[in-house]
Symmetry: C2
């Protein structure tokens, strides 16, 4: 049984994507992950700040995951995350790029 639930690509919605990115912390997380687009990052490595509570980090990752923006897989004791770039981009071509270029 999978540990994480990911919506299928066709269920990724415009409102859902925008909602998940309507938080400065989540924009920062996605930016960090995008800088590693060819790879993955653990939740702690992708956290916007080292002081952030683990529960807060988990919440942000869940929101991003539920919106279909990231995929999380458990590897050993770590949860590794990557952006579902190709799937989101196939559904909404150019959207993520247009949004993320304004995230410093």
């Amino acid at each position: 049984m999978p540990r994480f639930v990911h919506p299928p690509a066709q269920d990724i919605s415009l409102a859902g994507v925008l909602g998940a990115l309507s938080d400065p912390m989540r924009l920062k997380i996605l930016k960090k992950l995008l800088e590693r687009r060819d790879g993955t990052l653990s939740c702690s490595a992708a956290a916007p700040s080292p002081e952030m509570a683990k529960s807060t980090i988990s919440h942000h990752f869940r929101v991003l995951r539920d919106a279909g923006l990231i995929r999380t897989t458990k590897q050993g004791v770590e949860n590794l995350n990557c952006v579902r770039w190709d799937e989101v981009n196939a559904r909404f071509p150019g959207l993520l790029k247009a949004i993320m270029k304004f995230q410093p």
Copy 2:
């Protein structure tokens, strides 16, 4: 004293814009207003459906206004709304266009 409060253009934030558009009803409202970019629409005329409660319509317009996406002016008994297209576009070039092209 003005009846409506509009954030100055420099206070329009990326997260705020995305949050305001993270609701299918507000995406519909903005789409309707954009089809009248050269003009304005009353709240009821821009409502996504005629059955929507007035309080719900007001809420959606307030969220859009607070995010800096629309400007509301009182004219007689009507509140007229227009998209702050040029201001939002100056702050986040191409963002609104990239988002709204996916709103049917």
